[in-house]
């Protein structure tokens, strides 16, 4: 379990990093926390010829709150986000989901951008960003562009990132008034990739009906799955137990076509999605009502 030979670069600025990536177009990989990339290299499944270490680029890390919302630098450690007071206030869904990612040691190295760029279908953060309707900023030789999280994920482990681009920043809009969110998942052991998980955001109107809902699922598709049918089922409805159950059933039966593996059959994943969407919506509604 030793990696194949590779060349190593440690640039000090984004520009330098982009230059190295461009020079080795396709053969170079950015190295963030290394918690997914390095294991893949040790198995020799990943064999990048060149590693571009982003860990010495200070501009890429940091959390900033503003009137529009929250901006998180790609290289911000997952653990830093988990412990940040602004995040807890302005993006409680992120704070709630983070402890489910691996273990403190891994979150201390692992970065937000690394997890989002890695695009593991079972990862928590991509689903959370889809539920929050976050926007990702990418930079490359052709300049800077912003892309919605929902568009960023294009397939299994595939994203809108070009090989010579970097994910630099994530923008999370401020929570809507009278809204609440919840994150729930089922994993075999705490810190494992989930068998299924749900990130849900619900906003209420003045009558206490559901004005808008975004429900994102993890570990049941090629990437984060936006459960549109489930959201449709409750939008405009009073949030009764039946309405919530209806949304949960829609998620389980219409929004997904889950894969099976040795840990969970497709049928079991479907069952979990039904249960977890129900639980997440209940919790999100309670929180929205208490706002």
């Amino acid at each position: 379990m030793k990696p194949a030979p590779f060349e190593y670069h440690r640039p000090g600025t984004v520009e330098e990093a982009l230059a190295v990536l461009a020079r080795h177009s396709g053969d170079a990989k950015p190295l963030a926390g290394g918690q997914s990339l390095i294991p893949a290299m040790n198995f020799r499944l990943a064999r990048p010829a060149v590693l571009v270490d982003l860990n010495r680029i200070p501009a890429l890390a940091g959390i900033r709150g503003s009137a529009d919302g929250l901006r998180i630098g790609a290289m911000t450690r997952q653990r830093a986000v988990e412990r940040d007071a602004t995040v807890a206030r302005d993006a409680p869904l992120v704070a709630e989901a983070l402890p489910h990612i691996a273990h403190p040691q891994i979150r201390t190295r692992g970065t937000v951008g690394g997890s989002l760029a890695h695009a593991d279908p079972a990862a928590e953060l991509p689903a959370v960003m889809v539920a929050l309707d976050a926007t990702f900023d990418l930079v490359g030789p052709r300049g800077r562009r912003s892309i919605a999280a929902t568009e960023f994920y294009t397939g299994l482990f595939t994203t809108a990132l070009a090989p010579d681009e970097l994910l630099v920043e994530i923008a999370i809009p401020r929570p809507a008034p009278r809204s609440g969110s919840a994150f729930v998942e089922v994993a075999r052991r705490h810190g494992d990739y989930a068998l299924a998980g749900v990130a849900a955001v619900v906003a209420l109107d003045d009558a206490g009906r559901c004005r808008a809902a975004r429900i994102a699922l993890l570990s049941v598709g090629d990437g984060p799955v936006l459960a549109r049918k489930a959201a449709q089922a409750i939008t405009g409805e009073s949030l009764t137990a039946e309405a919530i159950k209806g949304a949960a059933d829609a998620a389980a039966s219409q929004d997904i076509d889950p894969p099976g593996d040795i840990h969970a059959s497709a049928a079991y994943r479907r069952q979990l999605v039904g249960v977890l969407v129900r639980r997440a919506l209940q919790r999100a509604c309670e929180r929205a009502r208490s706002h």
Binding site: M1, K2, P3, A4, P5, S36, L37, A40, F43, R44, L45, A46, R47, P48, H118, A119, D120, P121, A122, G155, L156, F157, T158, V186, R188, R189, H190, G191, D192, Y193, L195, G221, D222, P259, G260, D261, I262, H263, A264, S265, A267, Y268, Q271, L272, V275, L276
Partner: protein, 934 residues
Amino acid sequence: MAPPPRLVGKRVLRNEDARLLTGRALFVDDVRLEGMLHVAFLRSEHAHARLKRIDVSAARRRPGVVAVYTAADLGDYWRPGPLLVPPPPIPGLEFHACTQVPLVKDKSRHVGEPIAMVVAESRYVAEDALADITLDVEPLAAVVDLEAALSRGAPLVHEQLKSNRAAHVIQKKGDYDAARAAAHKVITRRFLYDRGISAAIENRAVAARWDARAEELTVWDTTQAPIPIRNGLAAMLGLLESQVRVIAPFVGGGFGPKIMMFYPEEVLVPWAAMRLGRPVKWTEDRRENFTATTQERGQVHDAELAVAKDGKILGVKDVFLHDSGAYDSYGLTVPINSQCTLLGPYDVPNYYTEFTAVFTNKTLVTPVRGAGRQHGVFVMERLLDFAARALGLDRLEIRRRNYLPPGAFPFNNEIIFQDSAPLVYDSGDYAPALEDAARMIGYEKFVREEQPRLRVAGRHVGVGVVSYIEGTGIGPYEGARVTIEPSGRVRVATGVGTQGQGHFTAFAQIVADVLDVPVEGVHVVTGDTREFNWGTGTFASRGAVVAGTACHAAAVAVRDKIVAVATRVLNQPPEKLELAGGRVTVKGAKDDGISYGALATRANPLRGAVKPGTEPGLEATAYYGPDRGSTASGVHAMIVEVDPETAMVEIQRYVVVHDCGKLINPMIVEGQIQGGVAHGIGNAFYEQLVYDDTGQLQNASFMDYLLPTATDVPRVEIAHRETPSPLNPIGLKGVGEAGCIPTGAAFAQAVEDALADFGVEITEIPLSPDKLFDLLKKTRPKKRNVVVLEGSFVFAGPRAAVWDLLQDPAVLGTALPGAMRLERTGDGHYDGLMKVGIGPVTAAEFSVRITLRDREPPARYGMIVEGKGSFGFTRGTAQVALADHKSGTEMTYRAEVQVGGTIAGVGQRLLDSVARRMTKQGLEALNKALAARL
């Protein structure tokens, strides 16, 4: 006369912990010597394959590579390993010994079996060179399922045998058929208990140095049995035993697989060091560990229990299959233990037990903590639970009614145990342990009040209570040498190895008590053949019992020497002498005395003489070799809560009442039990090695092979009972394996109890939420180990055009992701090259071969797609049918996809998704090609 115990029985902090916790302890991988070379092994990616040709020339040319060895290069050194445990003397026993080989010569028999050894300046270079080796292999059908293995026409793991039967053994006592005929009820079930790994924190490692000037070979080895390894290596290498020194320094967990396997790596590394004249080291990585280190057993039991109306056991019948893996070097220890231990603490007058051990194309099975005992316990305890339910009896009551009474000992259970003799329970007192456990877990209150109350609130809690016995502390023998040095410090050397059990403290406590010295003043040495020449090893819960008793005997002999020398030096009769605090004093004159250190100096005369018949020094060596072992016992109880919606289980409480005779150090015993329970919980709910039908291990990393972590294992509440063994002076019984033996049975009972409303019955271990979901839904469990793609696709074109399209290599090529070329090589045969990668997996070249068969144009055909590349291989078989459809042609397909190599071991979580995506993309590409044609 030894004084009453002062330290034995106390929670003495461990002598070794300061070294271990501050990183000063030596482990094999810490051995770094000048000029040291590093090793990587090329291992079989196939479970069963004929090796037709191997070419290592390119690897040999790679800069930094020093040597590459194949089976052919080993010459006479290539020999199958020893049969470690000959079969026991049971009438009618059938046993076929097929032991592992150092490197595959003609055929590989399990994934991970070593084929070639690369020795290089660094492990990195050695691993790089593995990719330079080219193999020509012919994959053979693999033997995986135990029942299929025995069917007529099954492929053979060992062709020299007529079948895959490795052994067949029947043991009986009484007359089961008569008991059955007289029974009020007969409970019949099939039980499955699947494989796991031992998952020691330290993998295996071997380092070796040949000192040509001293003509000495030093081998550092993570073995549990350094002396047998020394003896075996000396014989294989043609050296005197005294020319070989095997050191098993600190070892990070043994659990059985490190006993004395003469693993290929263990015999090849010393050989290479001698041949190359440079030190050589190999450290197993976790990936290798999953397929190259021996594993726990899988068994399938068909069992019956004949009971009387009052719940008395009349008899038990058990017929089972035991998975030996590819070789059976460890003989029959594991299934024999299952047979013998099944009887447990119960009075079972009639017993029929029969097993067939089966060769399969899987990693070898050898003893792992519990060593098959848990399988017997699982069967018996589950049968009792089902009987209790059938008779309307309380689960505890049926056990009470069947325990052997306190007056029954010694009790011969008449079934041969792992030491080749019938197991005789030396002592025991079972019923009080059950009452203690029931009290601690609050059994009565729980079933009468708490459980009904919570059930009304929609919560599903359950309790499990089971009991077991464990044969421990078997022979043949161990020895120890105790020396008092002139400094007054005491040195104890013994032949066993140590893997974290606290030997440096437990043995020190025993010796310190006899000599009346502080425990910190006793320095224990284990696992170095230069320090102690005779012994067997640390396994079978025998270290404390056998080596501990030898330490005791040696200490008593040294005490006698102290008295003898002091009698002479102090000129006082022995009865006037007192030994305390490392000094000998004269009774009534406390200030007149002499330290042990000074006596040690006097016992080593610089002038004068050592009289004939006496020896210099305060030193003695003693051995202890019990005729039979001592039998420990215990009761485990646990409370679980199950969420029937998610099928997740939480263990809320875990109680162990344990009886291992006299406790040397309760703290160490509790550590063993806590660790054992964690191991058992893993076996019960988390750990399972999943093999597919081709013998590929599907969860060959800790990402998918789930060890319970600290948050999954509750703090075990432990109570001790001490029924001393009459067989040794301290009264010891073993404890190393105990914690994991009844855990699966307790877990199954508790989960079943929690789900009583659902009528779920648990007969299989390990369980998982996924399996529990199937049980709850009463769905037939699916095969978890193959990816099945089923679906249909509508092509926008007529059937004949679609059919033609599907035969055209140019078009088929476009349907393969990343295809670089595809050529027709014959009718229905296509060969090509594709480059695929996905997400974290760098795109790599795969050679592909497509074979179409059973073609019935334009209606249906079968297809085999095989791919081979640097991270493994894949094979898909598909049945495809075409039918007319209102908007063109509908294709329906069913495909099974199997993979081998690295992707099989670590990529399984994504396999289904990847296969589906490739299918979808391929079909869409074909449809596009069709549109372009029409």
